[in-house]
């Protein structure tokens, strides 16, 4: 089935594989012709994937964690 005749449901059921394989989804025939939500859905998912890259570490463990580790090492757990 070509992208032009593909329904939104069919397209979206293939989206995981399309995105995961690095296909040029924006140029997929269905996306180009879709009057519904598919382009927006794809855009949202890409926005989320991009935003995730900025979730890099800013958490710090409690100060006493090293003492716990040190104590476990001394007990022979390490």
């Amino acid at each position: 089935m070509t992208g032009k005749t593909m329904s939104c449901e069919e397209f979206q059921s293939q989206l995981a594989e399309l995105v995961g394989s690095g296909a040029d989804v924006l140029n997929h025939p269905h996306i180009r012709d879709c009057k519904n939500n598919c382009r927006q859905l794809y855009g949202d998912l890409q926005t989320i994937a991009q935003a995730a890259k900025q979730l890099f570490p800013d958490e710090q463990p409690e100060d006493n964690l090293w003492e716990r580790i040190e104590s476990a090492i001394k007990k022979g757990d390490g």
């Binding site: 519904n36 939500n37 926005t47 989320i48 991009q50 890259k53 570490p57």
Partner: protein
């Protein structure tokens, strides 16, 4: 009340270059003698010129590599230094994977105890940070398995059919995330993901692993990894759109 928000803009140009790991490469601890080898802080910083091996000056061991060598030799202070260098990253990884502060601390502790036991076996085949990262992921995965979480079949367990899964979108254009995502809202949404989805999302989208690497780590198919990631993103989209509606933003 003016609430301070950290907004993540969606234009890709504004995003920093993807950098999976702070790549501190340590020399192989092989018989050729590590003391004369150079540590590169980042692969991007590796020398690009093709000077013949013999012509290259023998650089001294960097402070980080020296610290690693000392820790491998059993120097407790050096190990403490490695802990202070890597604790944030490992703790953050654990926290994102399990979504619970107390568990994340216990897992960070376990990861560093394993590091203490295994550090002498590190041979420098990969960056030390990568090696430690993988060791820590294994600690978390083992923990999740012990808790009885079937890492890759959560999908079926929690969502008997695809139709009950995270929202697909067939209607007319609706509220879009394009433009900005509130960082806190995203953090909250990730924390609220079911464990299996969160694991894949963190490994792929946050930590930068490829599907084939994730499949190997989790003992599942590449297709399964892609599918779980897609469903995780769909769930996050639902949660973020809900949060946008509550905030009255469009």
């Amino acid at each position: 009340m003016a609430q301070q928000q950290t907004v993540l803009t969606a234009t890709t140009d504004n995003y920093p270059q993807r950098k999976r790991m702070p790549r501190t490469r340590f020399p192989k601890q092989a018989s050729e003698g590590s003391a004369a080898q150079t540590v590169q802080e980042d692969s991007a910083a590796e020398p690009q010129d093709a000077a013949p091996e013999a012509a290259k000056p023998q650089a001294p061991l960097s402070p980080d590599a020296e610290m690693l060598a000392r820790a491998q030799a059993g120097d407790h202070h050096a190990f403490a230094h490695l802990y202070s260098l890597h604790k944030r990253r490992i703790y953050s990884l654990c926290l994102r994977m399990v979504g619970n502060v107390a568990e994340a601390e216990d897992l960070t502790q376990e990861a560093f105890l394993q590091l203490h036991r295994k550090i002498a076996t590190f041979r420098g085949d990969s960056a030390f940070s990568t090696w430690l990262h993988r060791l820590s992921i294994n600690v978390v995965l083992m923990h999740l398995r012990k808790k009885g979480l079937p890492l890759m079949s959560l999908d079926e367990a929690m969502e008997p059919s695809y139709d009950d899964g995270p929202g697909r979108s067939f209607g007319a254009p609706d509220l879009s995330l394009t433009g900005s995502i509130d960082r806190l809202a995203l953090e909250r949404a990730v924390a609220a993901l079911p464990a299996g989805y969160r694991l894949i999302f963190v490994l792929h989208d946050v930590e930068g692993f490829e599907h084939n690497e994730i499949a190997a780590m989790l003992d599942c198919s590449v297709g399964n990894s892609k599918s779980q990631l897609h469903k995780a993103r769909l769930k996050l989209r639902d949660a973020l759109r809900q949060s946008l509606r509550k905030g009255g933003k469009r």
